[in-house]
Amino acid sequence: MMLRGLRILLGTQRSHIAVNLTAQKSTLAQVENGAVSSSVIEKLVEICGSKDVSTSTPVREQHGRDESYHHCEPPDVVVFPTSTEKVSQVARLCYDHQIPIIPFGSGTGMEGGVTASKGGVCVDVTKMDQIEAVNAEDFDCTVQSGVTRVGLNNSLRDTGLWFPVDPGADCTLCGMCATGASGTNAVRYGTMRENVMNLEVVLSDGRIIETAGKGTRTKKSSAGYNLTNLFVGSEGTLGIITKATLKLYGQPESILSAICHFPDVQSAVDTVVQTLQCGIPMARIELLCEKMMDAFNKYSNYDYKVTPSLFLEFHGAENHVDDQGKIVAELCEANGGTQFNWAKDMDERNKLWKARHMCFYAATSLRPGARWLATDVCVPISRLPEIVVETKKDIDNSSILGPIVGHVGDGNFHTVLVVMPDSPEEIAEASALHDRMAERAMKLGGTCTGEHGVGLGKRHHLVTQFGQGGMDVMMQLKQTLDPKNIMNPGKVLFTD
């Protein structure tokens, strides 16, 4: 039986409480720290050009952290390749010298996925920022790894199409592929897993492949193994994604948003379950607990009622949207919901959802200097009421401030556990809350991470979720595709 350990970060020290893993780990090559010699750096300059290679401390530090509470661990060098070919050459070089490679997009990850715990070369893909093709009639587009989701949608505005997956940040689309991201729209439009048609990936030894076939961009395919969805969610541990072909959707004809306030979390979540069971094609259903509403009001200058609330959005033809809104308003009322606020005006709606996207920052702003330990469990929708209520009780009984915000339409909710990064006690307490939450979720048929990825902090949860068999297969795939263990070591699996 495997013992799970906690990973506690104490400033620049790390102490890893004993984890008894199987023998798999020892067959992976051990990566050396600081293996980037000056001759390797010279070769990187030959490949990328001196302007696109940096060893300066600020640049490296920028590339060693993301939005999580994990401390910065800078790589030894950062490169900014401008083509897939250059990425391939960099990979080959790192493969030959056994140097870790960490892909970096916008640095907005939530799980410490870009921390270079073994040093190495950080491959910043943002200079590959071209939208290579938009095929409006086929509802697809192909983008390089530096294109961000807001950048893509701005570029598409004349076509009547958009890419709806919307995690809060303006992240790179290929970063979204790497983490299997999702957003507030997933209840209607799906997550990255459902919306990636093809990927161009550079493997650890520099080989370049297209996961669905060369230039393939069909809505469906039965051809060969589903490599596309192997790399979606692989968090840079199996390859570097350099291009993605994505599904596009038509802009909704009409959009209606609404907020409804509830006496407690249970009645709010019950409303969600009933709404979905009515078959109403919600575009967004988001839950904010009362602590989050408080933070929301304070951060974005609103004056909404400080009780558990649902933020709703309906997409469709004008009359459909109005009808759907009426039905849901009735359901809310039946569950004790009050003060249904409608927002049809575009400026008002945009302001509202922007503020919702800022929730994590709003929560941490309640304690200046704090960072967040974000949880991301996801359960079948029918089990949502019980897990949210139990989790909230657990948090309320602790000393940690933990506002809740979630994509309840997908059964996914986040608790933003607000911790001081330099307080090991707080981090330990928050981690314990998280562990209990994940266990609760997995008992209910849930997953430990709905959209953020595993990164550093959830590796032990992964082990519980999959058990021996599943973990063995993942390790085997890792060993096959990355025999030298250079692809983002230490993430997703215990490979460090």
Partner: protein, 243 residues
């Protein structure tokens, strides 16, 4: 009130594109480069459509001066909700040398011919950055102007416009007919939806030439050269009291 509004839309290089200077240093590379509607013009179209939705305005006409591709820009305006378009075809060297001075005269003629009550333009185009067309058009028409508008409200037969000026916000009352130029904070333009793009294909775009308006567009300027801005040099650190 059933007014008619004229909106100017210019086709420019998309704001997200990294502009490059041509090797002959006489202009920028435009071939194969993504173009779209000037962002301030999108705001102008949006404002006109909102006035129409509020039933203050009955008809919105979109006009563009430029080569054949300018029709795509007009189609986008139609997809956002404009009723019809006017394309004044100007190509080649004549288009390269076209200046606000010329455009304002064309717009003034169209405004009179179409009997409009309001001309709404973007405050400036992101290629020329001149910020002159609106003001000049008002002068040619001898109409009042409200530039850098961040809010436009109807006030009986007039308009109350809040303007963004250096000192802050200035609110003025403007008699109609008038020229308005839009600033960034006036509104957030809507996206064109697929059904509206389809409908826009059927809306009429009148094809005109400069001769139809009897305006002289002979160049009044000659471009001598176009260069990149100087490359930014690295800074230097001064440590202690060593200078």
């Amino acid at each position: 009130m059933s007014m008619r509004v004229l909106v100017g839309v210019k086709r420019v290089i998309d704001y997200a594109v990294k502009v490059r200077v041509k090797p002959d240093k006489m202009g920028v590379v435009t071939d194969g480069v993504k173009h779209s509607m000037n962002p301030f013009d999108e705001i102008a179209v949006e404002e006109a459509i909102r006035l129409k939705e509020k039933k203050i305005v009955k008809e919105v006409v979109a006009v563009s001066c430029g080569p054949t591709q300018s029709q795509e820009t007009i189609r986008t305006a139609l997809a956002m909700g404009c009723d019809r378009g006017i394309h004044v075809e100007i190509t080649g060297k004549e288009y390269e040398n076209l200046q606000p001075f010329h455009v304002s005269k064309i717009l003034a003629k169209i405004a009179k011919e179409e009997d409009v009550d309001m001309v709404i333009l973007g405050k400036q185009a992101i290629d020329g950055d001149n910020n002159q067309t609106g003001q000049m058009t008002a002068a040619v028409l001898d109409w009042p102007q409200a530039t850098f508008a961040s809010e436009v409200k109807k006030n009986n037969g007039d308009l109350t416009v809040t303007r963004e000026v250096d000192g802050g916000l200035e609110t003025i009352n403007v008699k109609l007919p008038a020229v308005i130029t839009t600033d960034l904070r006036l509104n957030e333009p809507r996206y064109a939806t697929l059904p509206n793009i389809m409908k826009a294909k059927k809306k009429p775009i009148a094809k005109k030439t400069v001769a139809d308006y009897d305006v002289d567009i002979s160049p009044r300027q000659e471009v001598l050269s176009v260069e990149d801005p100087p490359v930014r040099e690295a800074g230097s650190k001064i440590i202690g009291n060593t200078v």
